[in-house]
Each structure stands twice: as structure tokens, then as C-alpha cells.
């Protein structure tokens, strides 16, 4: 899973030469073998490294504060979203929905690596949402739709249909 994601990310970043990856441990943590340094392990660590390799440092945030927020959501993705139990899903969606109420992307108004990886990680949850639930978490859905249409991002994942007109007018978020 993580390996597919990394190869999609490579494509999105326009990296020409695909890297070689392996995994370690039960959780299949990705490992990148580098020619110019020691191996790197961990999805976020490798993704951050790839972004810099592609000279797209703006995707990591443009100020120290911005970078911290990007890293925070990357960590949230691998610690909270990955391996979440059924009962955690609601909390995650609810919290993200509140958070995204006044934001276009996770780190504010700019698209960052946090959006890409969160999109990859949360895709399986959004796919399973009923129309009514998508409306309940309307900010998450809107964000998700933005990201899946962001040029070059979707790659290995199937598109999720998001209705623009509300069906369940009675529901609140």
C-alpha cells in the first residue's frame, strides 16, 4: 500500500527515475535505498525527502510555522488515520470536518504534501461513505474532491463521486 502511494507520489512530483523500495517489519514500513546516503524508512520521511529531491520544497510549507503544520498532518495521517479502528473513523471525520471549515487545504490556502498523503490515506474511508455521510462531513468531502482533481494526484486510486447538490437537506453538519 505505502509503496503504491510512493510511486504515485513520484509521478505527481514528476520524478523521472523510479526509486527502489522494500519494506520492513509486520507493519510493512517502506524503506528507500539511496545511492547518495543511508537508507530512509517511514512513509512521511521518504515522502518529505522525495519532495525535496524534486525541488518542490514549497509543498512542505513556506515558513517554519507552515512547515510544522504540514508535518503535523503528515504525522496525523500515519498515526491516527492508518490502522484506525471502526470507532475512530467518526472522530477523525468529525475533527477534520471542523478543522476544514475555514480552510481550502490542510495547511491553509496552499496545496501541500499533507493533502496528498492524507488523500491517499483517507481514500478507503471516503469510498465507503454513504451520500448522507458525505453530506454530514461536507467540508471533508469538498476538500477531498479538490484534492482528487488536483493535477497529477489521483494516480492509482479510483475517483470518488461527490454530488454538488445536497440530497439530504435536513441534515446538519
Amino acid at each position: 500500500m505505502a509503496l503504491k502511494e510512493l510511486s504515485s507520489l513520484e509521478k505527481a512530483l514528476g520524478l523521472k527515475k523510479p526509486n527502489k523500495y522494500s519494506t520492513q517489519g509486520d507493519k510493512k514500513v517502506p524503506v528507500l535505498q539511496r545511492s547518495n546516503g543511508p537508507a530512509l524508512s517511514g512513509l512521511v520521511t521518504i515522502a518529505t525527502y522525495l519532495v525535496r529531491e524534486a525541488n518542490r520544497a514549497e509543498l512542505l510549507g513556506e515558513s517554519a510555522e507552515h512547515r510544522a503544520i504540514v508535518q503535523q498532518w503528515l504525522e496525523y495521517r500515519v498515526t491516527k488515520v492508518d490502522g484506525c479502528q471502526k470507532e475512530d473513523i467518526k472522530t477523525i471525520l468529525k475533527d477534520l470536518n471542523t478543522y476544514l471549515e475555514d480552510k481550502v487545504y490542510l495547511a491553509g490556502n496552499q496545496f501541500t504534501l499533507a493533502d496528498t498523503l492524507m488523500y491517499y490515506g483517507i481514500h478507503h474511508i471516503i469510498v465507503d461513505l454513504a451520500v448522507q455521510e458525505k453530506e454530514k462531513y461536507v467540508n471533508v468531502t469538498r476538500w477531498f474532491d479538490h484534492v482528487q482533481h488536483y493535477p497529477g494526484i489521483r494516480n492509482h486510486l479510483p475517483p470518488v463521486v461527490v454530488l454538488k447538490n445536497r440530497v439530504y437537506t435536513g441534515s446538519h453538519h
Binding site: 522494500s22 519494506t23 520492513q24 517489519g25 509486520d26 507493519k27 514500513v29 524503506v31 535505498q33 546516503g37 543511508p38 537508507a39 530512509l40 524508512s41 517511514g42 512513509l43 512521511v44 520521511t45 518529505t48 525527502y49 517554519a64 510555522e65 512547515r67 510544522a68 503544520i69 508535518q71 503535523q72 504525522e75 496525523y76 500515519v78 498515526t79 492508518d82 479502528q85 472522530t91 468529525k94 475533527d95 471542523t98 478543522y99 471549515e101 491553509g108
Partner: protein, 941 residues
């Protein structure tokens, strides 16, 4: 302007405060309550939190630390990122688990083992470094974050952490920084695990989910093996395996010989293992053996290898009506019957190499003392009730009928052959007088209801402390899924007072003067046997049984025994209020079925313990096959043909073949002397793969997944065979210098793997293991080194080591040999034996009786319809006897139908009723009725 919110006792706050002090970044710090909601968009209170100048919040401790580092001029490097990510995703879940165990459950020793994997990863990484800190010569954010995460646990000197010397040094180095020291003081009063603030914080946290290798749990029992050869090993894993290999044997103390009496020791893991006590009046069957004594034996042997302080006790359960009856049958006294069968049991277990520390019995003076003491304590504390009981009495046999001597129709599911205490179909407990159409099993007469005064254990009164204890024990211990499920379903149905006295002679006398002619009911008495057997082993038995602080108790049993061990017996002990050690890990197997299911008289069909040795198949092979089949998680089935296949494919062609080839190469090509090894990348990868299987083996064994960990052993020898096959040392030895050297390396690595296998095999096949060690002349310290911590595959037979004489370990089981065995043990003989032991006696006696009745009616010229009814009864009885003897007299009864009872099957009817009522319960019961013929430890009345 920034503001940092922290709370006392929260280890994550330790991270940010230490980094804040280290970097000197200007920032207001505000102490708040754990429950304070600082970050508006998160539904759960999350601390620490940093309010940024922009008005946004950072709510991850690691991100706050990284940010503080960056604004103070230390941008995060890849390496720093990697450690922070590892801390958040790998270390944190383990730390949460460890803290939960140590702080809330007082299990410090388990806390350190919950962290073993992460600590050894850290140790290996530090070993590879030349710098004093994780990323550089100077301390980095990653160092402080990891230090803070580990601080509560590593600063506690009471914890034994194994040999993580580098971790210890690094930890002390970081902790000496003034920033860290003062932050630790501020958040945890410098106290680590004993900090009150930490405890208060932990109490507010949700319990961490259990992190364990669950993916193997759902593997079906008899599934074909999947070789794990294509597992990808990372450079790190390969490197660390190579480093471990090169360490060689450490100067560890050998595992010392057992000194009896074994008593709990301070600072050791003290493990008390019990196996359900087999009922004395029968020869145990294979289901008995795998479900209890053998499983417990494997775990006890493993525990001793791990260096734990293990005591394994068991014995025969000897009181009760069944013994009385057997005595009457054989014309002996009950005591003589017990003596006779106790010896039979002991010798069977000895043949199976079950290594008890003590194998006792329940008919002892100690049993009386302890049972009566528990009784009086329950009585004094008001946990006993007195009531008049209506009981079935057979006027023909002149006695009150014990539950197992009554049969009738189940009041819940209408199953016609329900026993007096429990229905085999729906599993519900039955009060014998509630049975519809009860029959005395001896004479088939209808018994009458009589009343008698009895004592009851007031289970409803003990329900609250029981539930409280269960929550703790199930939460922290390794209870099998079926044990949890069965226990929960008991509690869900609500507890009722349970009678603890019986109108019998052969039992522990009730000491109360008002009940002087009664004895204790077996279910109350038998589990006390664990205590009294230990008391017969040592006068200091209370050090095991009244010492829950130091002792971890493992109970092994088949699943039908679960309620007695999880509900009823704990209630007796809780009610006695004498600080008894209660079960921490309840390990229950499912049932082992027999291949030939044509007998419908279900109980007792199969191969018996004393027959196994007559097969000529070695005890180790029996052990292997039974453990390979261990009904772990689901039922499994014994079959002769499968036994031959597993012997020939797994033992002979896989395991034996590998070990034998490795040894033969050393003796033939290198004059019994292990050659020099020059490890190539391919060899190192193999070391990593083998090391991975070893770690799996240990983590599965620690969780008592006995069948699953056996597969790891077989995987290793499979890897070894592939390795030899690819490298062809027998060809290379004839080649040039390079080829000869290669042959040496492959031989050396292989023979070392063989030595590792001898260690891992010991709990399963003790004799074979001893043989391998003698053949390889293995040094005695191998066990302690290889099974230390999470497992270390080291080079234990270095170049120059002399091995002994190598010879084959296993023999082929030929098809005709197996056919013979099948005929001898699986066919008619078994049925005859079963009929003799179990089935025939309640059936034979009614025959003449019924025959006479028919003749009398005919003689009286009674109405045809009346005669026809009685004739039908007679025919039915004859048919039952024929079935019990294994002669199926009904050609129209479809072949392959397991259930030979008359249609409509009561099981099906019952199932339909239950399905409607409660789907979950129905699922449980489907398992129970799936097979008519099964072996399992039976709960005798």
C-alpha cells in the same frame, strides 16, 4: 507571540518542555488540567498544544518539538525526521501499552517486555553509530523526544531491561542535560513510573488496543504450508541480523537445573502453569492430552528455556459418583479404583514426556483441609445460602441420582439426550429436576423427585467483584478468544446461586454439622485440587497460591471447562477473601475430532493414551502431530493418513532432511569440523529471514500460540533446504578454492541453523532435540543466548567446532503400516472399546427387561397397539446398541451422514430455535453441534 499548554504527568508534555528549555525559544507556558480542551477543532482533549502567532494550533508533541528546533536554528534533517516518525508510529503505541501495564496494572515486568522489540531496534541502531547521539555529535530534537518517551519506563530501576547497554548509556547521556533534568522534575517530579501525576494522567487515557501479530490468528488448522521465502528484508534488518550473528555465544549463565521445591523468586517472572485435572476413572484420550497436559507442557518447557521461574502442576481428579460407580462395577473400593487409574494416567503422561514438576491427586488430606478452609471462609463472609433442593431419586437403584446418571429431554432445546447437569447440544446448564422425561441411566426407570437440604454458593452476590477482576484479567492477560466469549455469555445470562453439596460418600466431607452426611460437589472441590496438589508438593504452597503480586497463573484446558475456571472457581476464591492468585491467562482449546465419525454415540470415541505407544510410533512424533493439529482457534481433526503425510513431508523430508544434510556435510566434507564462513549478501539475507522467524516464534509462544509457532520452525528448515539446494555444496566441494570456500560457508551456516532448530524444537520434541544436540555437540549455553529477549540467531557453532556422529532423526511411515494401524486402532477395536467403557452398560440392562415386557403383554393378549408401542421400543433399543457397537444396520441411512440419529435431527431443530433467538449465541453453538464425534476433555459432573 506563542503560548504552550501543558499538563502535569503527561509524558508528551515532557518532550515539549525539555525541547523548549534546550532551544531557549521564548514562549509562554500555561499549565492546565488533563481534561482541558485547548484545540478547538479536536473533539478529545489533546495536550500539549502550541498556539502559534498566526492563531493556529499545533497539537502534536513531535511537531511542536520540530518547530521549536527549527525556529531556534536547527532545521530538521532526514535522519531527525525518520526518528520522529518512528517514535510516533512505532515506539508510541508500545510505550502506551507498557505504561498501561506498569502504571495501571502494576505489571512492571510485562511493561518492559511490551517494549522489547522497540528497544532492541534502538539498541541495534545505536550499535551501528559512531556518534554519541542519534543523529550527530550533538543532541538533536529526536534524542530529546525519544528520551522523553522512554523516560517514565527507563528511569525506573526496578525494571529489568535485558541487555540494552547502548540504549542505557544513550539514555543517561541525554538525561544529564539540564533541560531534560528540569523538565522531568516539572512534569513527573523526577519520579518516572511512580509519579502520582503520571498515574492520574494514565487514568484519563483510553486503554491502548492490543498490539500483537494477529495476522496468523485466522489461519485454518490443517492448511497447507506457505513458504515465506519471498519476504523482503530491508538493509537494516539484514545488517542487524549480521551483527547479531557475529556476537556469537555470550557468557550467559546456563539455564540452571530445577531445584525442588520451586518457589516464586523476587525479580523473576514467576509462572504457575496448571492443566485441567483429568478425571481418574478413564484412560485419557488424545483429545484430553492435547487440550490440557501436552499444551501446558509445551508452554512450561518453553518458559523454563526463557529463564522464567516456572512451576507446572497437575494431577488426577478422583472424587465423584463416576468413581463410586466404577468401583462397584469392578468390585473394588473407590480408593482402589483411584490408585489403579492414577498410575495409568501417570504412566501415559510419562510416555508422552509430559514434564510435570508434580503430578498429584485430589484424594488427599491437604485437599480436605484447603477445601474446608475455603468453605468456612465463604460461610463466615455470608457467601453461602441454604436451600431445600428437589432431587431425583431412583427407587429401583435406591439412591439419589447424580447429574450424570440422569438423562432426559433438554427443557431449553428439546434435545432428547441431555445430561442432568448440562445439555450437550445447547450448552446450557440444567437443573436435573427440570429435565423432561428423566430416566435413570443405569436402569432406565423414571426417577422420583425428593427434597434434601443443600448449601449454595451465592454467585449473584459475587458478581460485581468477579466482573471487576475479569475486566482486569482479560484486559492484561492472554485469554483465548473462546475463553472470553464463553465467559461473557455466562455473565450475560446472569449468575444464579450454585449448589456446592451432594448426597454422596466419595468426596470431600462438608465440615458443617448440619450437612455431615454430605460431600462437596465436584465442581467446587476439583479446582481446589490445584492448590492441594501444590500443597502436597511443598509446604510453602501459599507462596504460589496467595501471591497474585508475584505470580502469573496460566490455566490450560479444553473449552468445555472454561466457565468453571473463569467464573465459578474465581468466585469461590474471591469470596474467601484470602488474597488468592487468580488466573491471569486462560488458554482453552477447541475440540479435536476423530476422522471416522460413523459412531453416533458421541462420547469417548477415539484413540486412547495407552494405545499410542502400541503403535510403535515414537512419542516425539505423536507430540509433533498432536501439536501440529492443536485445535487453536478452531476445531481440527485427527486422521491416520494425515499423520503419515505430516510425518513424511514435514518431519522426514523437511526438518529431518535439513538437519541431517547439514550435519552430514560437516562430517563428510570437513572431517567433523565446522568450516570457516565468509558471509555473502545471500547468506546475510538468510540470517535475517531465519532471525525473523525466530522472533515470530518467540512472540507467538509468548502469547501461547503453540501451533502457530511450530510453523516457524518448519519455515526455517524449509529456508535451509532451499539454501542448500540452490548452493549445492556437494558439488562445490569438488571445485576450486573459491568453490570449496563457498561450500564451507553454506555448510557452516546450515549447521548453525540446525543448532538453532534444536533449541526451538525442545518444547515440542524433547528427545529429538536432545539427539540433535548430541549429534552437533552443541554447547549448553545456546538456549539462553538464542531465546534471550526477542530472539538472537547467533553463530553458536563457530569455525573449528567439532560435531559428533550424525544419523537420521526420523523414519518414514509407510502406507501399509498406516493402514494396519487404522484397522487396529481406528476400526472395530475402538468401537468395542468404546462400547465397553461408555455406551453399552446403560443399554444392555433394559434389554431383557423390555423383552420380558413384550412377552408378558403378548401372553396377556393385550391390545395390538399397546404391544406395538413396546415392540417399537425394543427394536429401537436394539438399533441403538448396534449403532453403539459400530454396526450400522440401516442400509437406507445415507452414507457420509455424520449424524446417525433419527430424523428430524434434534440438533437441527434446536439450532433453528436458537438461531431465531440470538444469532451470536447460535454461532457459538453451531460449533458445538457441528460434530457428533469429538474428543475433548469432558466436564464430569
Amino acid at each position: 507571540h506563542m503560548k504552550l499548554f501543558v499538563s502535569e504527568g503527561n509524558p508528551h508534555c515532557l518532550k515539549v518542555l525539555a525541547v523548549l528549555k534546550l532551544t531557549g525559544v521564548k514562549c509562554d507556558v500555561q499549565h492546565v488540567n488533563h481534561e482541558e480542551k485547548v484545540v478547538p477543532h479536536l473533539s478529545r482533549p489533546t495536550l500539549p498544544a502550541l498556539l502559534l502567532p498566526s492563531g493556529m494550533h499545533l497539537f502534536s508533541a513531535n511537531s511542536i518539538c520540530r518547530y521549536l528546533g527549527e525556529v531556534s536554528g536547527q532545521p530538521s534533517s532526514d535522519l531527525n525526521n525518520q526518528w520522529l516518525e518512528w517514535e510516533a508510529s512505532e515506539l508510541q503505541p508500545a510505550v502506551a501499552q507498557a505504561l498501561h501495564l506498569a502504571v495501571l496494572q502494576g505489571k512492571g515486568s510485562e511493561a518492559s517486555s511490551a517494549l522489547q522489540g522497540q528497544l532492541s531496534y534502538l539498541e541495534q541502531s545505536l550499535c551501528k553509530k559512531t556518534t554519541p547521539f542519534l543523529t550527530a555529535e550533538i543532541v538533536s530534537v529526536a534524542d530529546v523526544v525519544l528520551w522523553a518517551a522512554l523516560y517514565p519506563i527507563l528511569s525506573d530501576h526496578g525494571l529489568v531491561l535485558g541487555d540494552q547497554g547502548k540504549v542505557q548509556n544513550w539514555f543517561e547521556r541525554v538525561g544529564m542535560l539540564a533541560a531534560c533534568e528540569s523538565a522531568a522534575q516539572e512534569v513527573l517530579q523526577g519520579k518516572g513510573l511512580k509519579s502520582e501525576a503520571l498515574k492520574a494522567y494514565m487514568q484519563k487515557q483510553p486503554a491502548p488496543p492490543h498490539s500483537q501479530a494477529q495476522k496468523r490468528d485466522n489461519q485454518p488448522c490443517n492448511s497447507p504450508e506457505v513458504a515465506d521465502g519471498d519476504r523482503v528484508m530491508s538493509e537494516e534488518e539484514i545488517l542487524s541480523a549480521t551483527v547479531t550473528w557475529a556476537k556469537g555465544l555470550a557468557d550467559r549463565p546456563m539455564i540452571s537445573d530445577r531445584q525442588h521445591p520451586i518457589l516464586p523468586k523476587e525479580g523473576k517472572r514467576n509462572i504457575l502453569v496448571t492443566s485441567a485435572l483429568p478425571y481418574v476413572n478413564n484412560v485419557p484420550h488424545l483429545g484430553n492430552i492435547i487440550g490440557c497436559v501436552l499444551s501446558a507442557d509445551v508452554y512450561a518447557r518453553y518458559g523454563r528455556l526463557r529463564g522464567w521461574n516456572v512451576l507446572y502442576v497437575c494431577g488426577t481428579d478422583e472424587y465423584g459418583t463416576a468413581t463410586e460407580n466404577k468401583a462397584r462395577e469392578e468390585g473394588l473400593t473407590p480408593q482402589q479404583i483411584c490408585d489403579k487409574y492414577h498410575t495409568v494416567h501417570a504412566s501415559i503422561y510419562q510416555w508422552f514426556q509430559v514434564d510435570f514438576d508434580y503430578f498429584g491427586r485430589t484424594t488427599t488430606e491437604k485437599q480436605t483441609q484447603i477445601a474446608q478452609n475455603i468453605f468456612w471462609r465463604l460461610h463466615e463472609r455470608g457467601f453461602l445460602l441454604e436451600d431445600t433442593v428437589e432431587q431425583l431419586r431412583c427407587e429401583m437403584c435406591q439412591r439419589f441420582l447424580a447429574d450424570r446418571f440422569v438423562e432426559g429431554t433438554c427443557p431449553f432445546c428439546a434435545y432428547p439426550e441431555a445430561r442432568g447437569d448440562q445439555c450437550d447440544k445447547c450448552g446450557k446448564l440444567i437443573n436435573a429436576v427440570e429435565l423432561q422425561e428423566p430416566k435413570c441411566k443405569v436402569c432406565n426407570q423414571t426417577p422420583v423427585v425428593r427434597s434434601s437440604k443443600h448449601l449454595f454458593l451465592d454467585l449473584p452476590k459475587l458478581e460485581a467483584p468477579l466482573e471487576q477482576w475479569l475486566e482486569k484479567s482479560m484486559g492484561s492477560g492472554d485469554w483465548t478468544a473462546n475463553a472470553k466469549q464463553i465467559t461473557r455469555s455466562w455473565l450475560r445470562d446472569g449468575l444464579k446461586p450454585r449448589c456446592i453439596t451432594r448426597d454422596l460418600k466419595w468426596g470431600t466431607p462438608v465440615p458443617h454439622p448440619d450437612f455431615s452426611d454430605k460431600v462437596f460437589y465436584v465442581w467446587f472441590d476439583a479446582p481446589i485440587g490445584y492448590l492441594s496438589i501444590t500443597a502436597n508438593y511443598t509446604d510453602q504452597w501459599e507462596k504460589w497460591w496467595k501471591n497474585p503480586e508475584q505470580v502469573e497463573l496460566y490455566n490450560f484446558m479444553a473449552k468445555d471447562n472454561v466457565p468453571f475456571h473463569s467464573v465459578v472457581f474465581p468466585c469461590s476464591l474471591l469470596g474467601a477473601q484470602d488474597n488468592y492468585s487468580l488466573v491471569n491467562h486462560l488458554v482453552a482449546t477447541e475440540y479435536l475430532n476423530y476422522e471416522d465419525t460413523k459412531f453416533s454415540k458421541s462420547r469417548g470415541v477415539g484413540v486412547f493414551g495407552d494405545m499410542a505407544k502400541d503403535t510403535g510410533i515414537p512419542s516425539d512424533v505423536w507430540r509433533f502431530y498432536l501439536l501440529y493439529l492443536r485445535p487453536e482457534g478452531q476445531d481440527s481433526a485427527f486422521s491416520w493418513a494425515d499423520m503419515a503425510i505430516k510425518n513424511n513431508s514435514e518431519l522426514l523430508n523437511n526438518l529431518g532432511n535439513f538437519i541431517n544434510r547439514a550435519g552430514m556435510f560437516v562430517s563428510k566434507f570437513f572431517e567433523n569440523c565446522v568450516p570457516a564462513m565468509d558471509l555473502q549478501p545471500e547468506d546475510k539475507r538468510l540470517l535475517a529471514l531465519v532471525g525473523w522467524e525466530l522472533k515470530q516464534y518467540i512472540s507467538l509462544m509468548d502469547k501461547v500460540k503453540i501451533r502457530d509457532s511450530l510453523k516457524c520452525i518448519l519455515n526455517i528448515s524449509r529456508l535451509g533446504n532451499q539454501y542448500i539446494q540452490v548452493n549445492e555444496p556437494w558439488k562445490k566441494i569438488k571445485g576450486g578454492d573459491t568453490d570449496r570456500q563457498r561450500a564451507g560457508t553454506v555448510t557452516g551456516v546450515s549447521v548453525n541453523i540446525a543448532c538453532l532448530l534444536s533449541v526451538m524444537l525442545l518444547p515440542y520434541m524433547p528427545t529429538v532435540c536432545q539427539t540433535i544436540r548430541e549429534q552437533l555437540n552443541a554447547p549448553p549455553t545456546v538456549t539462553a543466548t538464542m531465546l534471550q529477549g526477542t530472539g538472537n540467531f547467533v553463530c553458536c557453532l563457530p569455525a573449528g567446532h567439532h560435531i559428533g556422529v550424525v544419523s537420521p532423526l526420523f523414519q518414514k511411515l509407510e502406507a501399509d503400516q498406516i493402514e494396519d494401524l487404522k484397522k487396529r486402532f481406528g476400526g472395530q477395536q475402538v468401537s468395542t472399546m468404546v462400547v465397553r467403557i461408555y455406551s453399552t452398560w446403560p443399554l444392555i440392562r433394559p434389554f431383557p427387561h423390555q423383552g420380558e415386557k413384550v412377552r408378558a403383554l403378548k401372553g396377556q393378549k393385550a391390545e395390538k397397539a399397546v404391544i406395538a408401542v413396546e415392540v417399537d421400543k425394543l427394536l429401537d433399543l436394539k438399533k441403538q446398541l448396534a449403532l453403539a457397537e459400530g454396526k450400522n444396520q440401516e442400509p437406507d441411512q445415507t452414507k457420509g451422514t455424520k449424524n446417525t440419529q433419527h430424523a428430524p435431527s434434534p440438533a437441527t431443530t434446536a439450532q433453528a430455535v436458537i438461531n431465531k433467538a440470538d444469532p451470536e449465541r447460535a454461532k457459538e453453538l453451531t460449533l458445538a453441534v457441528a460434530e457428533q464425534v469429538r474428543w475433548g476433555a469432558e466436564a464430569e459432573n
